[in-house]
Structures are given as C-alpha cells and as structure tokens.
C-alpha cells in the first residue's frame, strides 16, 4: 500500500514538474463555490488522476501572499502525507497546495 502511494505521489509530482496546467483560479471563496468544485470531482472516474489535479488546481509549491500549503490544510494528514478530502484522497507533499485548501 505504501509503495502504491509512493508511485502515485511520484506520478503527481512528475505531472506537476512537467508543467501540468491546473485550474488554480478562481479560488472557491464561499462554501457554495467549494461545493461546486467538489461536485465536479465526484463526477470523475476515481482513477482519473490528471483530471483531479486539474480541477482542484494543484500546485507543487505554496500559494499566495500567505504562502498557503498542504501542511496547514485541514485535510492533510501529516504522518501519512495524505490528503484526506474524500473527493481527492491522494498522497501529497506538505509544500504543495490546491484551491480546496482550508484551515
């Protein structure tokens, strides 16, 4: 399982490093907008990793003037290096970010 996660983590890291354009903006300011992004994610094939990253606006670096990052996000599990948001459920690095970030 851990090696599976490692492979997925590497696949995500490679896609981001190779310049995958993701939908960083608009940041879902309200819960309604947040829910709309979640709805898009729920309609995906759970194995469609690339679309997940695009829709959720993944970046492999902190974002914005506050330097927001996964490490402070509510959904980030520090020890598993895992995003626990059910619609994402992917391994992530602490210095990454996505527009579903919340604290």
């Amino acid at each position: 399982m851990a090696s599976d996660n490692g492979a997925v983590l590497k696949a995500i890291a490679d896609m981001l490093e190779n310049g995958l354009k993701t939908q960083v903006e608009p940041f879902p300011e309200t819960d309604k907008e947040f829910a709309e992004v979640l709805l898009q994610l729920r309609q995906l094939d759970p194995k469609d990793l690339k679309s997940k990253l695009v829709i959720s606006g993944f970046l492999d670096q902190p974002y914005g003037p506050d330097r927001q990052r996964c490490l402070e996000c509510m959904y980030y599990l520090v020890h598993r290096k895992w995003c626990d948001l059910p619609e994402l459920s992917v391994p992530v690095e602490p210095d990454w970010w996505c527009r579903l970030w919340r604290i």
């Binding site: 940041f27 819960d31 829910a35 980030y76 520090v78 948001l85 919340r102």
Partner: protein
C-alpha cells in the same frame, strides 16, 4: 408546596418529551420528593374545557397562587398581532401568557422557541413568533425588556432544541425549593451553572481539535467536527459534554456536529441551503472561529498544531 403550570405556544412538544425523560431528578421526583404541585401540563393535565379555563382564571385572578410558570414554544402573534393563530382555552395563548406572567412567582422559558423564538421565528417568521423576553439576540421579546416576575427575576431562559431533561428539572427544583435567588444568569438570562462552559468542554474529540485533524464524514471514529462539518461546539455555551444525553453520550461523541442550539441565533444562517452541517469559510478560513480566537492566532495555532501532531491522531481511536 409550589404550584407549577406548564403551557405550550408555538411548539413541537420536543421539550415536553425531554422533560418527561428527565432522570436527575425525574418528573415524578418533582412531585414526590420536592413538593411541586403540577397544576396542569399539556401531556399530563386532566382538566379540559371549562374546568381548565376555571383553573387558569383562578390563577390569573390571584385566587390561587402561581409559583412557577413554565412556557414552552414561541409566543405566536399572527395574524397581524392578534395571536389568533394560537388559541387556547377560549382566547389567544399570548393573552394567557401576559396574564399568567404578571402573577407568576417565577417565569421559566424552556427551549429555543420560548427563549428566543427558535425555528418558528426564522425569517420570514410567518407566525410573527417571539420568545418570552428575547427575539433572537434582541432583548425585549413578548413580555418586554423590563419584565420581572414576582420574585424579582427576569424570565429564566433554559434554551436548547430541546433543552436537556436535567437542565429543566434542576432549574424547576431550584426555584421550587426557594433557591431561585441563588441563580446567576448570563446576558441572555441563561443559568450560568449550565451555560458558561462550551459544548466543546468535555468533548472526546478535543485531541483532534488540538492537533487539527478533521472528520470528513458523519460518525467517523477520528477527527474533529469543527473544521469541515459545521460543528459549533467551540462557540456554543452548553454542558452537552458534561451532562450527557441519556446519561451516556452527546452529538459530538457520536460523530455528529453540534448545531449551536442553545444560542439565540439558532438555527444559524436561517437554514439557507448549504449552511447546515457545513463549516462556513471565507478564503478557506472559518467565518466563526472558536470564542475569543482571532484569525491570525488561529492560523498560527493551526501551523504549530499540525507540525506537532502525533501519528495516532490520524488513526481511528474510538474502536469497537
């Protein structure tokens, strides 16, 4: 022997059901151990029709003393301030409330509807509902801001949807046994003994709150319900995790978020779609932070807590 009368206005009977489930003391204990004479109650009273009206008239005229007047449900003023939508014993209930509150030794509002209007008073408030001495956060309500019962106290507010059984019976016993003067009330006239601490006080998920691990689904055996599922435990004054429900649990212990039902704004955000059981955020930060915590402090605390969180905080800990 203290005479107690319990009436219902715009109510669902939830607080009556709660009262009848009381254990410490029970509804029967009120009569057998504490000398409370329950003159009439919607689920227990025997009198009907003329006999009930006779009883009510004896109380309002002063022929029979009314020591404790308990009111459940909102005061209904519709239509157009007449109160005709809620008639009782031949006249609008609100008129009985006025007359009985005037002669009562103590007036006790049970549940959100009687305290601040509750769900019936949610916009657009078609029943023109009010609480006895508040309308939501606004002081005044049906009886007016200056109302005091004969004992010199304002309406004693025991909110909740419903109020916990023991909050009800313990307050009734306190006033019936002459200890009403010892009651200390907060700014919303709630007994401080119950409503000074928070719902979060005693919550079994406090470790997850501290380490910022979120529950993402109801009933999950790990995680705090505040971050994502709209739990109002850190902002709500109630002893729900100190005086347990059914003597063994609470909403948060069972994995369901606190809805803040002891606060005047309940139901929050006027039940707009997407606001129930969902933490409201602005740019990813909760709009309502734990009482007394500001945004910058919250962000700093989160960063430190996440960095320090132990591995077990991410595992199920309430294992069957």
């Amino acid at each position: 022997m203290a005479n107690l009368l319990w009436l219902q206005g715009g109510a669902c009977s939830g607080n009556t059901m709660s009262f009848l489930n009381a254990e410490e003391p029970s509804a029967c204990d009120l009569v057998t151990d504490f000398g409370i004479n329950v003159l009439w109650h919607p689920s227990l009273g025997l009198e009907l029709g003329d006999n009930l009206r006779k009883l009510l008239n004896a109380l309002t005229s002063g022929q029979m003393p009314l020591d404790i007047f308990v009111f459940e449900g909102s005061v209904v003023n519709a239509p157009n301030g007449t109160g005709e939508w809620n008639r009782f014993a031949g006249r609008p209930m609100k008129d009985w409330v006025s007359d009985l509150a005037r002669v009562a030794g103590y007036t006790v509002a049970i549940g959100d509807c009687a305290t601040w209007g509750g769900i019936p008073a949610t916009a657009p408030n078609p029943s023109e509902s009010q609480g006895l001495q508040f309308l939501k956060r606004q002081h005044g309500g049906y009886l007016g801001a200056n109302y005091k019962s004969k004992a010199g106290l304002p309406v004693i507010n025991v909110p909740g949807c419903p109020a916990h059984p023991d909050w009800i019976t313990q307050i009734v016993v306190a006033v019936a046994t002459g200890r009403g003067g010892d009651l200390s009330l907060d700014e919303f006239q709630r007994p401080k003994t119950f409503f000074t601490s928070f719902t979060q006080t005693g919550c079994t998920r406090n470790m997850h709150f501290a380490y910022k691990v979120s529950a993402t689904e109801y009933g999950q055996r790990k995680g705090c319900l505040f971050y994502d599922l709209g739990c109002r435990g850190p902002m709500t004054h109630s002893p729900c995790n100190r005086i347990l429900w059914n003597r063994q649990s609470s909403k948060t212990r069972a994995g369901m978020p606190c809805m803040g039902c002891t606060e005047p704004e309940f139901p929050f955000f006027e039940l707009a779609p997407g606001t129930v059981f969902k933490t409201q955020t602005l740019m990813g930060v909760p709009k309502d932070l734990p009482k007394g915590v500001d945004k910058s402090g919250y962000i700093k605390l989160t960063a430190a807590a996440k960095a320090a969180s132990p591995a077990w905080a991410e595992e199920d800990i309430f294992v069957v």
